[in-house]
């Protein structure tokens, strides 16, 4: 299988502080890749470099290449707006648009693309909400505010919103850290389901979660990629001493 994303010599800074050092990694298509590591190791920054969200901070800087289907997203003349339409993102805290209805939340991205046709919007809303297993819960309340849902429902709404624009890659930044165990379980099931058709990169603090949902795992420490491989191998037979210490809970 060809890699969906190839990261070459990626470095990232906030001001003068370097938060990512020479990252090289190949992310496989239609698989879940988990990024694990202690707080402040650059997991989230790495994720945000994959769809050029890192640079929206005025102090942020990036060097290196990220090849998406072979195209360097940091190349000259590449519009970050187009990249973000193809590489969607779900955030740590559910962030639906509270002033919009559930329906409008789902189609927010499509409206940016100029889709106005009611029929196709209706279809997308239904398909996206079904995909995230939210349709049955909200189908009668599509006009209610996105903020009226529970935390877990909000996060699934945010996933539906990201999927509605039909990205090829979905980046998830600790999507369950603000949720209760039942909501977390629902989202984990969802991630496995989505992995059949999407390439997913998920940052997580929770190692059990990484073990449960991912096919590949990358361990980051102090801005460096320490070890990367199939999840089974990382958890059962880590090659690097730091990885082993981390997954056995000796630091974290």
């Amino acid at each position: 299988m060809a890699p969906k994303l190839e990261v070459e010599d990626l470095n990232a800074w906030f001001g003068t502080k370097q938060v990512l050092k020479n990252i090289n990694i190949k992310i496989e298509e239609n698989a879940v890749t988990a990024i694990i590591g202690p707080s402040g190791c650059g997991k989230t920054t790495f994720l945000r470099c994959l769809n050029r969200m890192h640079e929206i901070n005025p102090d942020a800087r990036v060097s290196g290449k990220v090849l998406f289907n072979g195209l360097n997203i940091y190349g000259n003349g590449v519009d970050p707006v187009m990249i973000r339409k193809k590489i969607g993102m779900v955030f740590q805290k559910p962030n639906p648009f509270p002033m919009m209805s559930i329906y409008d939340n789902v189609v927010a991205g499509l409206k940016l693309n100029g889709v106005r046709d009611k029929k196709s919007l209706d279809a997308v809303v239904r398909r996206s909400l079904e995909l995230v297993n939210l349709w049955d819960e909200v189908k009668d309340d599509l006009n209610k505010s996105g903020a009226s849902l529970s935390g877990g429902q909000q996060q699934r709404l945010c996933i539906a919103r990201a999927l509605a624009v039909e990205p090829e890659v979905l980046l998830m930044d600790e999507p369950c850290s603000a949720l209760d165990p039942i909501s977390t379980a629902k989202i984990e099931v969802l991630i496995r389901k989505l992995a059949k058709t999407y390439t997913i990169v998920i940052v997580t603090h929770n190692m059990q979660q990484a073990a449960r949902v991912s096919d590949y795992t990358a361990f980051f420490y102090l801005g460096e990629l320490i070890e990367y491989g199939p999840t089974k191998q990382i958890f059962e037979n880590p090659k690097h001493e730091l990885t082993e210490k981390y997954i056995t809970g000796k630091f974290g």
């Binding site: 769809n51 969200m53 929206i56 005025p58 707006v81 187009m82 973000r84 339409k85 969607g88 993102m89 955030f91 805290k93 962030n95 639906p96 648009f97 509270p98 002033m99 927010a108 991205g109 940016l112 693309n113 903020a147 945010c158 919103r161 990201a162 624009v165």
Partner: protein
């Protein structure tokens, strides 16, 4: 955390005195606070008392009448003044609101914080300039400039439209609207900036991650606070309606039902009070001016209360969501 001190002064005897002191201070504060309400109440009472003669004489005709003749027939009708106030305020909003929106967005979305505060400071300084200075500037700088370089061109280009035809004096309806616009910009843009600043970054990131351009991101920020933005606009309206000094210095002060064009002179409610109160030589004349003042106070109070409520509600709503 709330702790119950049941027998505190048996444990700490001096606490009793502290608590008495607390209560005294509370009562004094409450007294001071209530003077505000008292003042407002007295003001309304005095205005009603002062305008009673006019209210009795003209009744509703005062609001709907179009004649203001203190010299001969002694009939007073304020409709032209109300219209003048409404139109100049509307022009002020038409010009001032887009600029304020731009200033607010520039400060919250475009200019880096470390430079933005300088502009914020200057904008707020504008609000502190006494209105008579705006008036003087309007008379000696803006009027000659508009008359010589702007209005003649507007008339040459759009003269076929009635509102842009007719003689140009320099001062007049449009000039008053422009001066008012400049005067409301500081207040309106400061409120808008505060509204946009409290929009959580997670909202901006949400739309950026969906592939929004900068402009689309900014639109999301505005739509997030739209009810507050409307409140800010109404706040500006309240300020424009009540403004007196600068307007009376540039509007030309001519009592007429409807001006022949935007370049023509007109009158507003506040301007006529400032100009004619000293010339009012008999009771009904004074009472009529008081009646104008009463109507003005009523309108500005309603508008201000409305706008404050809307802005507060939005701020509370947005902060509430941001906290979750």
């Amino acid at each position: 955390m709330k702790v119950k001190y049941k027998n505190k002064h048996t444990v700490f005897p001096y606490l009793k005195w502290l608590i008495i002191g607390d209560n005294i201070f509370k009562i004094i504060s409450a007294l001071f606070a209530s003077t505000i309400l008292l003042l407002l109440g007295l003001m309304v009472y005095e205005l009603i008392k002062g305008s009673w003669l006019s209210i009795q004489t003209f009744g509703l005709d005062f609001i709907l009448g179009t004649k203001w003749d203190p010299a001969i027939s002694k009939v007073f009708g304020a409709l032209p003044l109300i219209l003048g106030t409404a139109v100049t305020s509307a022009i002020a909003l038409l010009i001032g609101v887009p600029i304020s929106l731009g200033v607010g967005l520039a400060l919250s979305e475009y200019i880096p914080k470390r430079y933005g505060f300088v502009i914020s400071f200057l904008v707020e300084l504008l609000a502190a300039v006494p209105s008579v200075i705006y008036g003087l500037w309007g008379m000696f700088v803006l009027i000659p400039f508009l008359r010589d370089y702007i209005y003649s061109h507007i008339r040459a280009l759009f003269g076929f439209i009635p509102i842009f035809s007719g003689p140009i004096y320099g001062g007049g309806v449009l000039t008053a609207g422009i001066v008012l616009a400049i005067m409301i910009i500081p207040t309106v843009s400061a409120v808008m900036r505060d509204l946009f600043m409290i929009v959580p970054n997670s909202q901006r990131e949400a739309i950026i991650a969906l592939g929004a351009t900068k402009l689309e991101t900014v639109k999301t920020v505005v739509s997030y606070t739209r009810s507050g933005v409307i409140g800010a606009i109404i706040l500006g309206l309240g300020r424009a309606i009540g403004e007196t000094m600068a307007v009376t210095m540039v509007i030309g002060n001519r009592f007429q039902v409807w001006p022949s064009s935007l370049f023509d002179a007109w009158y507003t409610m506040s301007a006529i009070i400032a100009n004619e109160l000293l010339e009012a030589t008999y009771d009904l004349y004074v009472s009529a001016l008081m009646n104008v003042a009463l109507a003005l106070l009523f309108i500005t109070l309603v508008i201000n209360i409305l706008s404050r409520l809307i802005v507060w509600r939005t701020l509370r709503l947005v902060r509430g969501i941001a906290k979750e």
